[in-house]
Symmetry: C2
């Protein structure tokens, strides 16, 4: 009497297969519907039944089938992190990812990484996610003042959070580092050390925090009465070699700066190399204040002055924001700004 093929109805509680609602229904003697509702604490299920179902479910290790839920409800339980595979600074990415996973660890959410490359329209991956309904929420970075992706997602009603702010008069969750404050602090610190001809290594032109940084730099310059040495040919997403060469060129001029403010650690390495290529000495001829996201720069040159940016925190905040929005919170309340640390000199 071979019954390898189980027909509808003769579900049994035995052995190997992953338990489903039907399994639970069979075991508890209840209907599938009742079990489903009992598991989500629906009010019309008797208190005892509810407990009983939940107990059995826990015992046999029931886990809802994601495909079933997704097909029925459209809920994917997925958050997508959209990344540029060429530009994104290295350590940045892993920290953000870790931050995000930290937050979603005890939720049913999975994190998927959706890449796009330089050649593509940055809107492509977002459009893909929305059109295919592949995620309940999206996190984007490299945010621009007028960001088509944010606009698109708002129009299509998908919750998202941006790393960096926009400036479109539209409200949405974001997390940002206060780069205005950073640049200002940096300038003031350099001025305090007697530096008054400062150059700025900017973020990528076009991103929102480019403006913030430039403004913070400019405002503080006039505040302290220092002057800017233009260095517009350089931004942090250029290659190490480019930045190094341009810095060396700059430092060989008579009107060279005596201080730098740099928006990223990798660029700072190149800037320092360029300074030294020009035969100058860090700390004596020139001071450099740089953002960093790991305790790297002080190993590199102890004369460097650093401000820490915590990307892991950013990841957590972004994840919290998206989940909050998905959960129905007011997007306007899901915005956060991270204040820079003090400027830190090397301490033994």
């Amino acid at each position: 009497m071979d019954r390898r093929v189980t027909k509808k109805g003769d579900d049994d509680a035995s052995g190997k297969e992953r338990p489903t609602l039907k399994t639970l229904a069979f075991m508890t003697g209840l209907g599938v519907t009742t079990v489903s509702r009992a598991l989500k604490d629906a009010p019309e299920i008797g208190a005892e039944t509810r407990r009983r179902v939940q107990l059995v479910a826990k015992q046999i290790g029931y886990r809802p089938n994601r495909a079933g839920v997704r097909l029925r409800t459209g809920k994917t339980n997925v958050i997508s992190l959209v990344l540029n595979t060429e530009h994104e600074l290295m350590s940045f990415v892993s920290d953000i990812i870790y931050g995000v996973t930290e937050v979603i660890a005890d939720t049913p959410y999975h994190l998927i990484v959706t890449p796009y490359s330089r050649s593509q329209d940055p809107l492509d991956p977002v459009r893909y996610l929305v059109e295919t309904g592949s995620a309940d929420g999206v996190i984007i970075s490299r945010t621009q003042p007028n960001d088509p992706r944010a606009r698109y997602m708002l129009e299509h009603g998908i919750p998202f959070a941006t790393h960096g702010r926009t400036d479109m008069g539209l409200v949405h969750p974001y997390h940002d580092f206060d780069n205005y404050a950073f640049a200002g602090e940096a300038v003031r610190y350099l001025a305090g050390r007697g530096r008054n001809r400062l150059a700025l290594v900017t973020p990528p032109v076009g991103l929102t925090y480019y403006r913030h940084t430039v403004n913070g730099f400019a405002d503080a310059l006039s505040e302290v009465g220092a002057s800017e040495v233009p260095f517009n040919t350089v931004s942090i997403d250029q290659s190490i070699e480019q930045i190094r060469m341009r810095t060396a060129q700059l430092m060989r001029r008579k009107d060279r700066p005596d201080g730098f403010v740099s928006s990223a650690a990798a660029a700072t390495l190149a800037v320092v190399a360029g300074i030294e290529d020009a035969g100058l000495k860090l700390g004596r001829d020139v001071d450099v204040v740089s953002k960093q996201s790991s305790e790297l720069l002080h190993l590199f040159r102890r004369e460097l002055l650093v401000v820490n940016e915590n990307f892991r925190l950013a990841g957590s905040e972004l994840a919290r924001a998206v989940l909050g929005w998905i959960g129905g919170a007011d997007p306007g309340t899901l915005q956060s700004l991270s204040t820079p640390s003090e400027v830190l000199p090397y301490r033994g």
Copy 2:
């Protein structure tokens, strides 16, 4: 005559909703089954019908519903990258991810990142993936000679690839960097520069490539007749401060090494700091050969000697391997070993 609620059967080709097989069936005048088969080039569908269906599908931008497929077939079209959120070296992670996404970009696969933390059994995330059927394939790192995760996945028949080899007599896809060769090359290079008292900054004890590295180091030492200065208290997953302090201690001893071989760039930064803490000079008193995964170390100190390890390549290879296995290839053919570059001194 209000027909807001569409009952089964009166599907229409209009407007907003995402097209499904039913939409295509309606538009082509065929049955859903036929459409389904036509799209996957089943042989029992007439050539013209096939073309016609595929044309229409392309035109209206049909994309199979992942939840539908997954529910019906169990195929998730997901690859999971399992990461330790505490140990993994920073840049490592983003490079691997980029490598993986590069390969799966023109496949239907999504990449999900499954984290686990120090406190957890590394087997936990893998067990979760298998039990919930959340992925068609898995990539793991921090591979051990006797790796319970690999054994578990083999037992449960889920395709996977390991970053690093195992040594259990079980065959499975992997990608590895030839750390035996790396350590050997490094030793020979140092010997060539007259260094003969060498210390090794090892990978994390317990991982397979720890053994490879140690063996490569030891074999080359006896080959060139140099001796080892024990430095067992240090491995690359310790903190910067620890490594730095221990290195400084070591370098203050009279029997200090005159050469280092370091398995990771971050550790090398710390080692160099330690060397300099002890008042010694890189290139004069001691040489350091280090692996690196980005062009960082030569900016740091031009005296450093580097060997490049390409993690992006590793990611690609691992992705290719998993996809290959999923696609039915023989796991034994999906193994690759990456040969280290030469030892590279700074070149202007």
